[in-house]
Symmetry: D2
Subunit: 338 residues, 4 copies
């Protein structure tokens, strides 16, 4: 960490700051310039916050040299992490995971039907929301435990592992038992109590990026989970909120290589939420595969117009099958497979 | 709700849609144009989602005429709501509330000292975080229950009601007992389980705006709380995330008159988080008062450089006193008082 | 256009509005609802602005049904436009154009060398800035006319058409004579006088998206050019400005299918400016090809560290060659070629 | 400027970089750390670009200590600049300037009438667009020279100086002759050729902030004007583009104290464009005065519903008069006057 002091900082303040940083177990290198003094802090600075240091009236600038994360940091963990989700391996060197299913679980029969349809089309995992974060308290909030049971049924029927969103700590036992990949939704990406709680789970976690989370904040949320004991985190980019309103969100395609460079964890892409429009899902999904994504999570529904939520961004099974066919070709072009 | 269908929508699809909407208990008015058909839906449409209707392949556009919220809506509740927080009344026609205190509770003695200092300077309520949402798992996470007890002590000492952030449902009993105003932080504004839970509390709620929440989403989160039984909600704007990084966030000053127009609830402003820089707090606070805010919540610390968090945006007590003096003049200029 | 009036709009105001719209040559269809009156306007509404109609105190909502653009609109021009740039055809069904070269032209020899290098690696057109829009007045502003002459020389040497940015009307003759594709930069996307001026040129135009331009505003800028007489417009997405600062901009990958759906014009992608970081250029470029882009424009330099501008995002020729090899495979996977 | 090199940068690269920076006329101070080498550059670094230095493969971080602007920088120019606009002084210690008038000049009679009305209500300057930057080529583009002549007439009639937007260099003579304050619009804030041209004018310049311009970019645009010879620049904040769409833009209220701290130039606020909604103009204008603005520029129209543009955000003269009355009280509260 490089710390710049104000011009004319009195010597006793310089000394106070030195002993403050040495008190944190750091070694302090000093440079005296004509217009400033600079400290280089050597040691583990992950527990220091730039803003807290900037609170000192003699500090004008703080520049972090090392990332504030350790457990997720590729620098300390050069090899790629592969996460096992109910037997399906997700990560570098593995086939690209194809997760598909309805936005919300709507019924046992409906779920089993779409599960079989997407499996036939090439999906390897089933998604479905039983607890739904809805903007309005008057909207359908999900089937709850019943929905989880239907997912369990669909898994038994098709053999596909299931992913579903966990919204509160009091359902952790249920998810530990019945859900193969525990999703933390965008709105809860900085619900730190929930992150700590899933950090104690045995099931892998799918960590969606918050609507306006920076890449570093997102990685820090993964760090929360790993620091609490659960190393099996998969990132999921689902678009960020920008001024552009033609699409529901704006997919940040560059995060794929960035996450691969900064961390050792897998990353998958959700083109359904990123675009909010089924007709854009395929081109964006192909782009994600070309850029190196380890998987895709796609909303599918047999009758989108009748979906209880997000029908607008749901693919019908044959459109999904078409996407899978083309994604396979793009995957091959970049040296991977589905 | 005004729904536009595609040109050449077959008559049987028009009829299907009519009976679908009538099935929701709505009356359907139809307009046939040269290039489109339009439905006007009459009745309560708050439970309908624009996006869900857009999922129908024959629908091209959906325009909501009435807001999707009812309980917070000034249209159905023309008189201003005044919220009583431990004897301090917040809202239209009341003195502007002055809430001050440290970002985080750091110790009993430190808290009592700053509490007395800000009270002397004019504060009417005390803020202090006992549970802190920190980006890094390695940062100080708050004193927890001990911090709440110190707040209780400071209240007994000074008589000021206290506000503190609630981060998870398992602390609700503690907050119901010891905290006068329960803060929901920006990161949890769409943690719907937590919103439902505080909706069942008896204590009033301070609802911070999410970093990238639209005004409508923010109001809908208040609607969650009220719909669950707690009518005492105060909005708190703390800046939104934009491309501009000179300030920590960008204060959306226009929300003050907007919230007043759309809802009947009080709104207060947090210039500390909005700017992230103590030297900007005063001008922004004065602006908020001029624009009609019902209160200010301001971070103060006796020694900001040593604050365990957010010292950079904390005022010293005498700067706070100076702010209060000028805020009183601006309040008077707009027909209010502190 | 669907216009919603306030509840209780007096009959004479309704009639005034009807005759106002009829005065614009439109036919007005009316729907009377319990809570509102709605007008459906039939006819050409491109010259009406939603905001201007909203200025009427009796209007609560305006919803455009038809896009405000005509000449760029695929609805009125279903077949794809292919633009000929000095013999290279750009657009649907054509090979994907590969435009490469330095950010700024730095010298005759340097330019010819990089031109030959990128041509060998697969480029079909040469880029190079002679007039540079720099944030600082103290930064290198480009070689000007001399730079244009070097581009001309490089074209003669390699046979590649050249693209360069035009910043003001007084250089139009120079560009008409020596530049094959006239670039309008992001900062000038809404410099309407310049748009009108290039609309009168004979050379095709590369229209970069403004840093915070909506897709509709971008298309409207193309409409300005075409409406002034120049139908040969190519869109170029170069990333938008968002809260995320790890990359220089955020590439909006979904605009590729959106521009293809809304307009009949070609679209190319600039992964160099979109990411600002050479190590991200290749994955983002492959993503663009997979999503259907008609071309790529990529900054290349023989010695990026010594580039006079934007070295940070410039590829060395052999990295560019590597990109081209992989892009060819991805292009084939989506049924195209380079 | 503080430059951090990679761990293990070879000695010969360190030496190459030192001589490179010394070649720029800078003195280089070196700090050797365990994990990095840091250079402190002493001297004038305004002509260096952080990104250009980052292009060097051995550099990991660049931190600017001194701002990249000089002529606008308060550090080198501690006293406030007051700009004289046709006899009206704008800046610190002066009465708050009240600029009002229609969005677009629509006719001689209409302009004179609104000019007299706003003057009576307290305005000291007249605004009116003769050249209008419109998103659509089919919208009214302004009356051009005729509009400028009407402004001249209104000035003669009322004695108020006039402000109008200049969109291209070929009208500079006209503006030099007839316009007292030359406005550079948001869309042209980085039209550097136009900035250089107005830098050679004798009339003061009102520099609007670009829709997504950072504060630093905005100041750098002022630096362009001053560096070309015109020291009379007034900043005008008119809202920035964010995800929030309820208002047309989001007013960045904190820029008022920031511009005052960083530069010595005046700043005025445009609440009409910032909100896009006449009912929000007054509270936002009062906020601006409370935060320290040196002036307000407000759209007024005698019949907003019939305005040729931006009627939605225009005040009627008596609403403007009401705003002036309250603004005077707020101004007094913060130690100023209108």
């Amino acid at each position: 960490m490089i710390i710049t002091l104000k011009k004319d900082t009195p010597q006793k303040e310089v000394e106070r700051l030195i002993s403050q940083f040495e008190g944190y177990g750091l070694r302090v290198n000093i440079i005296h310039g004509q217009n400033w003094n600079v400290f280089g802090l050597v040691g583990d600075t992950t527990h220091l916050s730039e803003r807290d240091i900037l609170a000192d009236e003699w500090v004008t600038n703080v520049q972090r040299v090392q990332a504030p994360y350790k457990l997720t940091n590729r620098m300390f963990h050069p090899e790629d992490t592969v996460v096992d989700v109910g037997g399906i391996k997700i990560g570098a060197g593995q086939p690209i995971a194809l997760i598909a299913g309805p936005c919300a679980v709507e019924g046992d029969e409906e779920l089993c039907r779409i599960a079989e349809d997407v499996k036939k089309a090439g999906a390897t995992m089933l998604r479905g929301g039983a607890y739904k974060p809805r903007t309005s308290p008057y909207s359908f909030q999900g089937l709850g435990t019943k929905g989880i049971m239907y997912l369990d049924h669909a898994r038994q029927l098709t053999g596909m592992p299931v992913v579903s969103e966990l919204m509160s700590e009091d359902k952790i036992d249920e998810f530990e038992k019945y859900v193969d990949l525990v999703q933390i939704g965008a709105r809860n990406m900085q619900n730190y109590n929930l992150l700590k709680a899933v950090g104690k789970m045995k099931k892998p976690v799918l960590l969606k990026r918050g609507m306006s989370a920076t890449i570093e904040e997102w990685i820090m949320s993964a760090e929360y989970i790993i620091a609490n004991g659960n190393p099996n985190v998969i990132f999921c980019e689902r678009g960020i909120r920008t001024f552009e309103k033609y699409t529901r969100n704006t997919l940040d395609i560059a995060v794929i290589p960035i996450i691969k460079e900064k961390t050792h964890l897998p990353i998958i892409i959700d083109p359904s939420h990123a675009t909010g429009n089924w007709s854009l899902v395929k081109p964006v999904a192909l782009a994600a595969v070309a850029a190196g994504a380890d998987g895709l999570i796609i909303e599918c529904h047999n009758d989108p117009a009748k979906a209880w939520s997000d029908g607008m961004q749901s693919l019908k099974p044959d459109n999904f099958a078409d996407l899978v066919r083309d994604a396979a070709k793009v995957a091959e072009a970049v040296g991977r497979s589905l």
